[in-house]
Symmetry: D2
Subunit: 143 residues, 4 copies
Amino acid sequence: MISKHRLKRTVKFYETDAAGIVHFSWFNRYMEEAEHALWRAAGVSIAGGASRNIGWPRVAAAFEFHKPLRFEDEFEVRIRIDAIGDKSITYACVLVKDGARVANGSMTIACVERLPDGTIRSRPIPAEIAELFEAAPPSDDEP
Amino acid sequence: MISKHRLKRTVKFYETDAAGIVHFSWFNRYMEEAEHALWRAAGVSIAGGASRNIGWPRVAAAFEFHKPLRFEDEFEVRIRIDAIGDKSITYACVLVKDGARVANGSMTIACVERLPDGTIRSRPIPAEIAELFEAAPPSDDEP
Amino acid sequence: MISKHRLKRTVKFYETDAAGIVHFSWFNRYMEEAEHALWRAAGVSIAGGASRNIGWPRVAAAFEFHKPLRFEDEFEVRIRIDAIGDKSITYACVLVKDGARVANGSMTIACVERLPDGTIRSRPIPAEIAELFEAAPPSDDEP
Amino acid sequence: MISKHRLKRTVKFYETDAAGIVHFSWFNRYMEEAEHALWRAAGVSIAGGASRNIGWPRVAAAFEFHKPLRFEDEFEVRIRIDAIGDKSITYACVLVKDGARVANGSMTIACVERLPDGTIRSRPIPAEIAELFEAAPPSDDEP
Protein backbone atom coordinates (compact mmCIF):
# COMPACT_ATOMS: atom_id res chain seq x y z
CA MET A 1 0.00 0.00 0.00
CA ILE A 2 1.16 3.48 -0.82
CA SER A 3 0.59 6.63 1.22
CA LYS A 4 2.91 9.36 -0.03
CA HIS A 5 4.87 10.61 -3.02
CA ARG A 6 7.43 13.26 -3.87
CA LEU A 7 7.35 15.01 -7.25
CA LYS A 8 10.29 17.09 -8.47
CA ARG A 9 9.28 20.10 -10.49
CA THR A 10 10.77 23.18 -12.16
CA VAL A 11 8.85 26.47 -12.52
CA LYS A 12 7.84 27.15 -16.12
CA PHE A 13 7.86 30.70 -17.44
CA TYR A 14 4.11 30.68 -18.20
CA GLU A 15 3.44 29.88 -14.54
CA THR A 16 4.79 33.27 -13.44
CA ASP A 17 2.82 36.52 -13.33
CA ALA A 18 3.63 40.22 -13.55
CA ALA A 19 4.68 40.23 -9.89
CA GLY A 20 7.59 38.03 -11.00
CA ILE A 21 6.42 34.97 -9.04
CA VAL A 22 4.30 31.88 -9.66
CA HIS A 23 0.61 32.82 -9.74
CA PHE A 24 -1.16 31.28 -6.75
CA SER A 25 -3.63 29.39 -8.96
CA TRP A 26 -0.78 27.08 -10.00
CA PHE A 27 -0.37 25.54 -6.56
CA ASN A 28 -3.61 23.58 -6.93
CA ARG A 29 -2.23 22.29 -10.24
CA TYR A 30 1.08 21.31 -8.65
CA MET A 31 -0.84 19.45 -5.92
CA GLU A 32 -2.94 17.62 -8.51
CA GLU A 33 0.17 16.70 -10.52
CA ALA A 34 1.64 15.12 -7.38
CA GLU A 35 -1.65 13.31 -6.69
CA HIS A 36 -1.69 11.79 -10.18
CA ALA A 37 1.97 10.78 -9.80
CA LEU A 38 1.05 9.13 -6.46
CA TRP A 39 -1.64 7.08 -8.21
CA ARG A 40 0.76 6.09 -10.99
CA ALA A 41 3.28 5.06 -8.31
CA ALA A 42 0.51 2.82 -6.97
CA GLY A 43 0.21 1.26 -10.42
CA VAL A 44 -3.03 2.89 -11.60
CA SER A 45 -4.19 5.98 -13.46
CA ILE A 46 -6.75 8.22 -11.75
CA ALA A 47 -8.50 8.21 -15.14
CA GLY A 48 -8.61 4.43 -15.19
CA GLY A 49 -12.20 4.19 -14.01
CA ALA A 50 -13.59 6.42 -16.74
CA SER A 51 -14.63 3.40 -18.82
CA ARG A 52 -16.81 2.31 -15.88
CA ASN A 53 -18.12 5.89 -15.48
CA ILE A 54 -16.20 6.40 -12.25
CA GLY A 55 -14.63 9.80 -11.58
CA TRP A 56 -12.90 11.75 -8.82
CA PRO A 57 -14.12 15.36 -8.61
CA ARG A 58 -12.46 17.72 -6.17
CA VAL A 59 -14.66 18.61 -3.17
CA ALA A 60 -12.30 21.05 -1.46
CA ALA A 61 -8.82 22.50 -1.96
CA ALA A 62 -6.85 24.96 0.15
CA PHE A 63 -3.37 26.44 0.31
CA GLU A 64 -1.32 28.65 2.60
CA PHE A 65 1.53 30.45 0.86
CA HIS A 66 4.76 31.07 2.74
CA LYS A 67 7.42 31.90 0.15
CA PRO A 68 7.30 32.80 -3.53
CA LEU A 69 8.48 30.60 -6.39
CA ARG A 70 10.24 32.13 -9.39
CA PHE A 71 11.04 31.10 -12.98
CA GLU A 72 13.28 28.02 -13.15
CA ASP A 73 13.13 27.46 -9.38
CA GLU A 74 13.41 23.76 -8.57
CA PHE A 75 11.08 22.51 -5.88
CA GLU A 76 9.45 19.37 -4.59
CA VAL A 77 5.76 18.62 -4.10
CA ARG A 78 5.40 16.23 -1.18
CA ILE A 79 1.91 14.74 -1.02
CA ARG A 80 0.53 12.21 1.42
CA ILE A 81 -2.86 10.67 2.08
CA ASP A 82 -4.16 12.33 5.21
CA ALA A 83 -7.39 10.31 5.40
CA ILE A 84 -9.15 7.75 3.28
CA GLY A 85 -12.85 7.20 3.93
CA ASP A 86 -15.54 5.09 2.35
CA LYS A 87 -16.27 7.63 -0.37
CA SER A 88 -13.49 10.21 -0.26
CA ILE A 89 -9.74 10.77 0.04
CA THR A 90 -8.05 13.75 1.69
CA TYR A 91 -4.49 14.67 0.84
CA ALA A 92 -2.00 16.92 2.63
CA CYS A 93 0.69 18.58 0.58
CA VAL A 94 3.87 20.53 1.27
CA LEU A 95 5.95 22.37 -1.34
CA VAL A 96 9.62 22.58 -0.46
CA LYS A 97 12.46 24.53 -2.05
CA ASP A 98 16.03 24.40 -0.77
CA GLY A 99 14.82 22.74 2.41
CA ALA A 100 12.35 25.50 3.22
CA ARG A 101 8.58 25.22 3.15
CA VAL A 102 7.09 27.25 0.28
CA ALA A 103 3.43 26.39 0.80
CA ASN A 104 1.21 23.77 2.35
CA GLY A 105 -2.13 22.61 1.08
CA SER A 106 -4.90 20.08 1.35
CA MET A 107 -7.38 18.59 -1.08
CA THR A 108 -10.37 16.28 -0.74
CA ILE A 109 -11.68 14.24 -3.65
CA ALA A 110 -14.89 12.20 -3.81
CA CYS A 111 -15.59 9.01 -5.73
CA VAL A 112 -18.60 9.42 -8.03
CA GLU A 113 -20.27 7.48 -10.78
CA ARG A 114 -22.15 8.77 -13.78
CA LEU A 115 -25.59 7.16 -14.10
CA PRO A 116 -27.15 6.28 -17.48
CA ASP A 117 -29.32 9.45 -17.30
CA GLY A 118 -26.17 11.60 -17.00
CA THR A 119 -26.50 12.53 -13.35
CA ILE A 120 -23.59 12.11 -10.98
CA ARG A 121 -23.81 10.51 -7.55
CA SER A 122 -21.39 9.75 -4.77
CA ARG A 123 -20.36 6.11 -4.49
CA PRO A 124 -17.98 3.98 -2.40
CA ILE A 125 -14.34 3.85 -3.53
CA PRO A 126 -13.91 0.61 -5.54
CA ALA A 127 -12.19 -2.07 -3.45
CA GLU A 128 -9.33 -2.48 -5.95
CA ILE A 129 -8.51 1.22 -5.49
CA ALA A 130 -9.07 1.41 -1.74
CA GLU A 131 -6.64 -1.48 -1.19
CA LEU A 132 -3.83 0.44 -2.90
CA PHE A 133 -3.76 3.39 -0.52
CA GLU A 134 -3.51 4.09 3.18
CA ALA A 135 -3.27 7.23 5.25
CA ALA A 136 0.10 8.39 6.55
CA PRO A 137 0.93 10.70 9.46
CA PRO A 138 2.96 13.87 8.78
CA SER A 139 6.58 12.88 8.31
CA ASP A 140 9.37 14.13 10.49
CA ASP A 141 11.27 15.06 7.36
CA GLU A 142 8.64 17.47 6.16
CA PRO A 143 9.60 21.06 6.92
CA MET B 1 -25.34 35.34 -42.55
CA ILE B 2 -22.59 36.46 -40.23
CA SER B 3 -18.95 36.95 -41.11
CA LYS B 4 -17.25 38.92 -38.33
CA HIS B 5 -17.40 39.79 -34.65
CA ARG B 6 -15.71 42.13 -32.18
CA LEU B 7 -15.10 41.01 -28.60
CA LYS B 8 -14.14 43.51 -25.90
CA ARG B 9 -11.73 42.13 -23.35
CA THR B 10 -9.68 43.21 -20.33
CA VAL B 11 -6.32 41.62 -19.43
CA LYS B 12 -6.57 39.47 -16.30
CA PHE B 13 -3.68 39.36 -13.88
CA TYR B 14 -3.13 35.60 -14.32
CA GLU B 15 -2.63 36.19 -18.06
CA THR B 16 0.56 38.17 -17.44
CA ASP B 17 4.03 36.68 -16.98
CA ALA B 18 7.23 37.68 -15.23
CA ALA B 19 8.14 39.97 -18.14
CA GLY B 20 5.14 42.07 -17.07
CA ILE B 21 3.14 41.39 -20.24
CA VAL B 22 0.51 38.91 -21.42
CA HIS B 23 2.15 35.54 -22.14
CA PHE B 24 1.97 34.80 -25.85
CA SER B 25 0.06 31.55 -25.31
CA TRP B 26 -2.99 33.62 -24.34
CA PHE B 27 -3.47 35.08 -27.82
CA ASN B 28 -4.73 31.74 -29.15
CA ARG B 29 -7.21 31.72 -26.26
CA TYR B 30 -8.34 35.27 -27.02
CA MET B 31 -8.84 34.28 -30.68
CA GLU B 32 -10.89 31.24 -29.66
CA GLU B 33 -13.01 33.33 -27.26
CA ALA B 34 -13.84 35.66 -30.15
CA GLU B 35 -14.62 32.67 -32.40
CA HIS B 36 -17.08 31.26 -29.86
CA ALA B 37 -18.68 34.69 -29.46
CA LEU B 38 -19.01 34.87 -33.26
CA TRP B 39 -20.88 31.55 -33.25
CA ARG B 40 -23.14 32.70 -30.43
CA ALA B 41 -23.83 35.90 -32.39
CA ALA B 42 -24.94 33.59 -35.22
CA GLY B 43 -27.35 31.93 -32.81
CA VAL B 44 -25.50 28.67 -32.15
CA SER B 45 -22.94 27.20 -29.77
CA ILE B 46 -19.80 25.65 -31.26
CA ALA B 47 -20.46 22.82 -28.78
CA GLY B 48 -23.99 22.33 -30.11
CA GLY B 49 -23.10 19.39 -32.32
CA ALA B 50 -21.56 17.34 -29.53
CA SER B 51 -24.76 15.35 -29.09
CA ARG B 52 -24.43 14.26 -32.72
CA ASN B 53 -20.71 13.53 -32.20
CA ILE B 54 -19.68 16.50 -34.31
CA GLY B 55 -16.66 18.53 -33.22
CA TRP B 56 -14.36 21.29 -34.46
CA PRO B 57 -10.67 20.58 -33.74
CA ARG B 58 -8.10 23.21 -34.57
CA VAL B 59 -5.92 22.31 -37.56
CA ALA B 60 -3.62 25.34 -37.50
CA ALA B 61 -3.14 28.53 -35.51
CA ALA B 62 -0.63 31.35 -35.91
CA PHE B 63 0.07 34.78 -34.48
CA GLU B 64 2.39 37.70 -35.11
CA PHE B 65 2.94 39.91 -32.08
CA HIS B 66 3.41 43.66 -32.55
CA LYS B 67 2.84 45.28 -29.16
CA PRO B 68 2.60 43.96 -25.60
CA LEU B 69 -0.58 43.84 -23.51
CA ARG B 70 -0.41 44.55 -19.78
CA PHE B 71 -2.63 43.93 -16.72
CA GLU B 72 -6.01 45.66 -16.99
CA ASP B 73 -5.36 46.80 -20.57
CA GLU B 74 -8.62 47.00 -22.50
CA PHE B 75 -8.50 45.68 -26.03
CA GLU B 76 -10.69 44.32 -28.78
CA VAL B 77 -10.45 40.99 -30.58
CA ARG B 78 -11.71 41.44 -34.14
CA ILE B 79 -12.33 38.12 -35.84
CA ARG B 80 -13.66 37.47 -39.32
CA ILE B 81 -14.19 34.41 -41.45
CA ASP B 82 -11.44 34.46 -44.03
CA ALA B 83 -12.57 31.33 -45.89
CA ILE B 84 -15.23 28.69 -45.46
CA GLY B 85 -14.77 25.44 -47.34
CA ASP B 86 -16.64 22.18 -47.52
CA LYS B 87 -14.95 20.77 -44.42
CA SER B 88 -13.10 23.63 -42.77
CA ILE B 89 -13.28 27.29 -41.71
CA THR B 90 -10.36 29.72 -41.60
CA TYR B 91 -10.50 32.83 -39.44
CA ALA B 92 -8.40 35.98 -39.49
CA CYS B 93 -8.02 37.91 -36.27
CA VAL B 94 -6.66 41.30 -35.23
CA LEU B 95 -6.17 42.49 -31.66
CA VAL B 96 -6.48 46.24 -31.25
CA LYS B 97 -5.74 48.50 -28.29
CA ASP B 98 -6.22 52.27 -28.40
CA GLY B 99 -6.57 52.11 -32.17
CA ALA B 100 -3.23 50.34 -32.64
CA ARG B 101 -2.71 46.79 -33.82
CA VAL B 102 -1.38 44.58 -31.01
CA ALA B 103 -1.25 41.27 -32.88
CA ASN B 104 -2.75 39.51 -35.85
CA GLY B 105 -3.54 35.86 -36.14
CA SER B 106 -5.23 33.13 -38.10
CA MET B 107 -6.82 29.81 -37.24
CA THR B 108 -8.25 26.93 -39.25
CA ILE B 109 -10.75 24.49 -37.78
CA ALA B 110 -12.03 21.27 -39.33
CA CYS B 111 -15.42 19.63 -38.98
CA VAL B 112 -15.10 16.06 -37.70
CA GLU B 113 -17.38 13.33 -36.45
CA ARG B 114 -16.69 10.64 -33.91
CA LEU B 115 -17.55 7.18 -35.23
CA PRO B 116 -19.05 4.44 -33.00
CA ASP B 117 -15.60 2.81 -32.70
CA GLY B 118 -14.18 6.04 -31.25
CA THR B 119 -12.14 7.10 -34.26
CA ILE B 120 -12.43 10.63 -35.63
CA ARG B 121 -12.84 11.49 -39.29
CA SER B 122 -13.22 14.66 -41.30
CA ARG B 123 -16.75 15.36 -42.55
CA PRO B 124 -18.61 18.12 -44.42
CA ILE B 125 -19.81 21.08 -42.38
CA PRO B 126 -23.52 20.47 -41.62
CA ALA B 127 -25.75 22.56 -43.89
CA GLU B 128 -27.48 24.29 -40.96
CA ILE B 129 -24.07 25.57 -39.80
CA ALA B 130 -22.66 26.40 -43.23
CA GLU B 131 -25.69 28.58 -44.01
CA LEU B 132 -25.00 30.78 -40.96
CA PHE B 133 -21.56 31.97 -42.02
CA GLU B 134 -19.86 33.57 -44.97
CA ALA B 135 -16.34 34.82 -45.63
CA ALA B 136 -15.59 38.55 -45.34
CA PRO B 137 -12.74 40.56 -46.85
CA PRO B 138 -10.39 42.46 -44.51
CA SER B 139 -12.21 45.58 -43.31
CA ASP B 140 -10.97 49.06 -43.95
CA ASP B 141 -11.49 49.81 -40.28
CA GLU B 142 -9.04 47.17 -39.16
CA PRO B 143 -5.68 48.70 -38.32
CA MET C 1 -16.69 52.75 1.30
CA ILE C 2 -17.14 49.55 -0.66
CA SER C 3 -17.47 46.07 0.77
CA LYS C 4 -18.76 43.75 -1.95
CA HIS C 5 -18.98 43.19 -5.70
CA ARG C 6 -20.67 40.91 -8.18
CA LEU C 7 -18.92 39.87 -11.37
CA LYS C 8 -20.81 38.20 -14.22
CA ARG C 9 -18.81 35.60 -16.07
CA THR C 10 -19.17 32.98 -18.82
CA VAL C 11 -17.14 29.75 -18.84
CA LYS C 12 -14.50 29.74 -21.59
CA PHE C 13 -13.71 26.53 -23.43
CA TYR C 14 -10.08 26.50 -22.30
CA GLU C 15 -11.25 26.53 -18.67
CA THR C 16 -12.80 23.07 -19.02
CA ASP C 17 -10.96 19.75 -18.62
CA ALA C 18 -11.37 16.21 -19.94
CA ALA C 19 -14.04 15.53 -17.29
CA GLY C 20 -16.17 18.07 -19.20
CA ILE C 21 -16.24 20.60 -16.37
CA VAL C 22 -14.23 23.65 -15.28
CA HIS C 23 -10.91 22.56 -13.78
CA PHE C 24 -10.87 23.38 -10.06
CA SER C 25 -7.74 25.55 -10.42
CA TRP C 26 -9.87 28.17 -12.21
CA PHE C 27 -11.94 29.01 -9.16
CA ASN C 28 -9.01 30.85 -7.55
CA ARG C 29 -8.70 32.82 -10.80
CA TYR C 30 -12.41 33.64 -10.82
CA MET C 31 -12.14 34.83 -7.20
CA GLU C 32 -9.15 37.03 -8.06
CA GLU C 33 -10.96 38.49 -11.09
CA ALA C 34 -13.84 39.49 -8.78
CA GLU C 35 -11.36 40.95 -6.27
CA HIS C 36 -9.75 43.13 -8.94
CA ALA C 37 -13.20 44.23 -10.16
CA LEU C 38 -14.06 45.14 -6.55
CA TRP C 39 -10.98 47.34 -6.36
CA ARG C 40 -11.79 49.00 -9.68
CA ALA C 41 -15.34 49.60 -8.38
CA ALA C 42 -13.66 51.40 -5.48
CA GLY C 43 -11.81 53.59 -7.97
CA VAL C 44 -8.35 52.04 -7.76
CA SER C 45 -6.27 49.33 -9.41
CA ILE C 46 -4.75 46.67 -7.17
CA ALA C 47 -1.58 47.25 -9.24
CA GLY C 48 -1.63 50.96 -8.49
CA GLY C 49 0.93 50.79 -5.72
CA ALA C 50 3.57 49.07 -7.81
CA SER C 51 5.31 52.37 -8.49
CA ARG C 52 5.76 52.76 -4.73
CA ASN C 53 6.91 49.11 -4.46
CA ILE C 54 3.71 48.08 -2.69
CA GLY C 55 2.17 44.71 -3.57
CA TRP C 56 -0.55 42.33 -2.41
CA PRO C 57 0.60 38.69 -2.36
CA ARG C 58 -1.89 35.99 -1.52
CA VAL C 59 -1.35 34.42 1.91
CA ALA C 60 -4.12 31.81 1.78
CA ALA C 61 -6.86 30.66 -0.58
CA ALA C 62 -9.48 27.94 -0.20
CA PHE C 63 -12.54 26.62 -2.03
CA GLU C 64 -15.30 24.12 -1.47
CA PHE C 65 -16.88 22.85 -4.67
CA HIS C 66 -20.60 22.03 -4.72
CA LYS C 67 -21.66 21.86 -8.36
CA PRO C 68 -19.76 21.70 -11.65
CA LEU C 69 -19.53 24.48 -14.23
CA ARG C 70 -19.56 23.64 -17.94
CA PHE C 71 -18.60 25.41 -21.18
CA GLU C 72 -20.64 28.57 -21.79
CA ASP C 73 -22.35 28.37 -18.39
CA GLU C 74 -23.16 31.85 -17.12
CA PHE C 75 -22.48 32.43 -13.45
CA GLU C 76 -21.81 35.17 -10.95
CA VAL C 77 -18.84 35.62 -8.62
CA ARG C 78 -20.03 37.37 -5.46
CA ILE C 79 -17.12 38.62 -3.40
CA ARG C 80 -17.20 40.55 -0.14
CA ILE C 81 -14.62 41.74 2.33
CA ASP C 82 -14.88 39.45 5.31
CA ALA C 83 -12.25 41.20 7.40
CA ILE C 84 -9.81 44.06 6.96
CA GLY C 85 -6.92 44.28 9.38
CA ASP C 86 -3.91 46.52 9.73
CA LYS C 87 -1.83 44.53 7.26
CA SER C 88 -4.20 42.12 5.50
CA ILE C 89 -7.60 41.71 3.87
CA THR C 90 -9.71 38.55 3.89
CA TYR C 91 -12.40 38.01 1.27
CA ALA C 92 -15.32 35.58 1.18
CA CYS C 93 -16.62 34.49 -2.18
CA VAL C 94 -19.65 32.61 -3.50
CA LEU C 95 -20.13 31.42 -7.07
CA VAL C 96 -23.77 31.23 -8.12
CA LYS C 97 -25.39 29.78 -11.23
CA ASP C 98 -29.15 29.83 -11.81
CA GLY C 99 -29.70 30.78 -8.19
CA ALA C 100 -27.74 27.79 -6.87
CA ARG C 101 -24.43 27.88 -5.06
CA VAL C 102 -21.65 26.40 -7.21
CA ALA C 103 -18.74 26.93 -4.84
CA ASN C 104 -17.65 29.07 -1.94
CA GLY C 105 -14.19 30.31 -1.22
CA SER C 106 -12.00 32.59 0.83
CA MET C 107 -8.74 34.39 0.24
CA THR C 108 -6.39 36.44 2.40
CA ILE C 109 -3.96 38.95 0.94
CA ALA C 110 -1.17 40.81 2.73
CA CYS C 111 0.20 44.26 2.06
CA VAL C 112 3.95 44.17 1.45
CA GLU C 113 6.64 46.51 0.28
CA ARG C 114 9.79 45.76 -1.64
CA LEU C 115 12.86 47.22 0.04
CA PRO C 116 15.82 48.67 -1.92
CA ASP C 117 17.79 45.43 -1.34
CA GLY C 118 15.01 43.44 -3.03
CA THR C 119 13.61 41.79 0.08
CA ILE C 120 9.87 41.86 0.81
CA ARG C 121 8.34 42.74 4.13
CA SER C 122 4.85 43.07 5.52
CA ARG C 123 3.62 46.62 6.01
CA PRO C 124 0.44 48.43 7.04
CA ILE C 125 -2.22 48.96 4.39
CA PRO C 126 -1.81 52.56 3.10
CA ALA C 127 -4.45 54.85 4.58
CA GLU C 128 -5.79 55.88 1.17
CA ILE C 129 -6.55 52.22 0.43
CA ALA C 130 -7.83 51.27 3.87
CA GLU C 131 -10.36 54.10 3.76
CA LEU C 132 -11.93 52.70 0.55
CA PHE C 133 -12.98 49.35 1.98
CA GLU C 134 -14.92 47.97 4.91
CA ALA C 135 -15.95 44.47 5.94
CA ALA C 136 -19.48 43.27 5.22
CA PRO C 137 -21.48 40.48 6.87
CA PRO C 138 -22.74 37.60 4.70
CA SER C 139 -25.74 38.86 2.71
CA ASP C 140 -29.19 37.36 3.01
CA ASP C 141 -29.32 37.20 -0.77
CA GLU C 142 -26.34 34.91 -1.02
CA PRO C 143 -27.41 31.31 -1.51
CA MET D 1 27.61 25.20 -30.02
CA ILE D 2 24.16 23.79 -29.57
CA SER D 3 21.41 23.68 -32.17
CA LYS D 4 18.70 21.29 -30.98
CA HIS D 5 17.12 19.71 -27.92
CA ARG D 6 14.58 17.02 -27.03
CA LEU D 7 12.28 17.44 -24.05
CA LYS D 8 10.27 14.52 -22.68
CA ARG D 9 6.87 15.50 -21.37
CA THR D 10 3.68 13.93 -19.97
CA VAL D 11 0.25 15.50 -20.49
CA LYS D 12 -1.14 16.98 -17.28
CA PHE D 13 -4.86 16.75 -16.55
CA TYR D 14 -5.29 20.54 -16.47
CA GLU D 15 -3.92 20.73 -20.02
CA THR D 16 -6.93 18.84 -21.40
CA ASP D 17 -10.27 20.39 -22.37
CA ALA D 18 -13.87 19.21 -22.58
CA ALA D 19 -13.16 17.58 -25.97
CA GLY D 20 -10.93 15.17 -24.02
CA ILE D 21 -7.70 16.35 -25.65
CA VAL D 22 -4.95 18.89 -24.93
CA HIS D 23 -6.21 22.42 -25.65
CA PHE D 24 -4.33 23.85 -28.63
CA SER D 25 -3.08 26.84 -26.61
CA TRP D 26 -0.75 24.46 -24.74
CA PHE D 27 1.40 23.69 -27.76
CA ASN D 28 2.97 27.16 -27.66
CA ARG D 29 3.77 26.49 -23.99
CA TYR D 30 5.31 23.10 -24.80
CA MET D 31 7.43 24.76 -27.50
CA GLU D 32 8.60 27.44 -25.06
CA GLU D 33 9.43 24.82 -22.40
CA ALA D 34 11.64 23.07 -24.95
CA GLU D 35 13.25 26.39 -25.92
CA HIS D 36 14.13 27.15 -22.30
CA ALA D 37 15.51 23.61 -21.86
CA LEU D 38 17.62 24.17 -25.00
CA TRP D 39 19.09 27.32 -23.45
CA ARG D 40 19.80 25.53 -20.17
CA ALA D 41 21.48 22.74 -22.17
CA ALA D 42 23.68 25.51 -23.60
CA GLY D 43 24.58 26.53 -20.06
CA VAL D 44 22.48 29.70 -19.74
CA SER D 45 19.04 30.79 -18.63
CA ILE D 46 16.93 32.76 -21.09
CA ALA D 47 16.17 35.02 -18.12
CA GLY D 48 19.87 35.59 -17.47
CA GLY D 49 20.00 38.94 -19.22
CA ALA D 50 17.21 40.50 -17.18
CA SER D 51 19.71 42.19 -14.89
CA ARG D 52 21.11 43.97 -17.95
CA ASN D 53 17.57 44.78 -19.14
CA ILE D 54 17.80 42.33 -22.03
CA GLY D 55 14.73 40.27 -22.90
CA TRP D 56 13.43 37.92 -25.60
CA PRO D 57 9.82 38.69 -26.59
CA ARG D 58 8.08 36.40 -29.05
CA VAL D 59 7.56 37.97 -32.47
CA ALA D 60 5.65 35.11 -34.11
CA ALA D 61 4.45 31.62 -33.24
CA ALA D 62 2.57 29.06 -35.33
CA PHE D 63 1.45 25.44 -35.11
CA GLU D 64 -0.13 22.83 -37.32
CA PHE D 65 -1.95 20.11 -35.41
CA HIS D 66 -1.95 16.56 -36.77
CA LYS D 67 -3.00 14.27 -33.91
CA PRO D 68 -4.53 14.86 -30.50
CA LEU D 69 -2.76 14.41 -27.16
CA ARG D 70 -4.65 12.98 -24.19
CA PHE D 71 -4.19 12.89 -20.39
CA GLU D 72 -1.01 11.09 -19.35
CA ASP D 73 0.19 10.69 -22.94
CA GLU D 74 3.98 10.70 -23.09
CA PHE D 75 5.48 12.70 -25.92
CA GLU D 76 8.65 14.47 -26.96
CA VAL D 77 9.14 18.08 -27.97
CA ARG D 78 11.98 18.27 -30.50
CA ILE D 79 13.15 21.82 -31.01
CA ARG D 80 15.94 23.06 -33.24
CA ILE D 81 17.27 26.46 -34.23
CA ASP D 82 16.09 27.05 -37.77
CA ALA D 83 17.80 30.41 -38.20
CA ILE D 84 19.81 32.78 -36.07
CA GLY D 85 20.14 36.36 -37.24
CA ASP D 86 21.70 39.49 -35.88
CA LYS D 87 18.68 40.36 -33.75
CA SER D 88 16.40 37.32 -33.77
CA ILE D 89 16.24 33.53 -33.49
CA THR D 90 13.74 31.27 -35.26
CA TYR D 91 12.99 27.80 -33.95
CA ALA D 92 11.33 24.83 -35.61
CA CYS D 93 9.57 22.32 -33.40
CA VAL D 94 8.05 18.87 -33.81
CA LEU D 95 5.96 17.03 -31.21
CA VAL D 96 6.24 13.26 -31.46
CA LYS D 97 4.29 10.51 -29.71
CA ASP D 98 4.97 6.82 -30.30
CA GLY D 99 7.04 7.70 -33.34
CA ALA D 100 4.25 9.69 -34.99
CA ARG D 101 4.19 13.42 -35.56
CA VAL D 102 1.58 15.11 -33.34
CA ALA D 103 2.16 18.71 -34.36
CA ASN D 104 4.82 20.94 -35.86
CA GLY D 105 5.45 24.55 -35.02
CA SER D 106 7.75 27.50 -35.35
CA MET D 107 8.57 30.50 -33.22
CA THR D 108 10.63 33.65 -33.71
CA ILE D 109 12.01 35.63 -30.80
CA ALA D 110 13.69 39.02 -30.87
CA CYS D 111 16.43 40.39 -28.64
CA VAL D 112 15.38 43.65 -27.01
CA GLU D 113 16.66 45.97 -24.33
CA ARG D 114 14.72 48.13 -21.95
CA LEU D 115 15.93 51.73 -21.99
CA PRO D 116 16.08 53.92 -18.85
CA ASP D 117 12.83 55.65 -19.91
CA GLY D 118 11.03 52.30 -19.97
CA THR D 119 10.73 51.91 -23.73
CA ILE D 120 11.80 48.71 -25.47
CA ARG D 121 13.94 48.55 -28.57
CA SER D 122 15.39 45.82 -30.73
CA ARG D 123 19.09 45.19 -30.28
CA PRO D 124 21.76 42.76 -31.51
CA ILE D 125 22.01 39.40 -29.75
CA PRO D 126 24.87 39.68 -27.22
CA ALA D 127 28.01 37.95 -28.52
CA GLU D 128 28.22 35.61 -25.51
CA ILE D 129 24.74 34.29 -26.39
CA ALA D 130 25.16 34.21 -30.16
CA GLU D 131 28.30 32.10 -29.81
CA LEU D 132 26.36 29.37 -27.96
CA PHE D 133 23.91 28.58 -30.72
CA GLU D 134 23.90 27.68 -34.38
CA ALA D 135 21.17 26.75 -36.85
CA ALA D 136 20.56 23.09 -37.70
CA PRO D 137 18.89 21.54 -40.74
CA PRO D 138 15.82 19.33 -40.21
CA SER D 139 17.00 15.96 -38.93
CA ASP D 140 16.42 12.70 -40.72
CA ASP D 141 15.12 11.28 -37.48
CA GLU D 142 12.31 13.79 -37.22
CA PRO D 143 9.04 12.28 -38.39
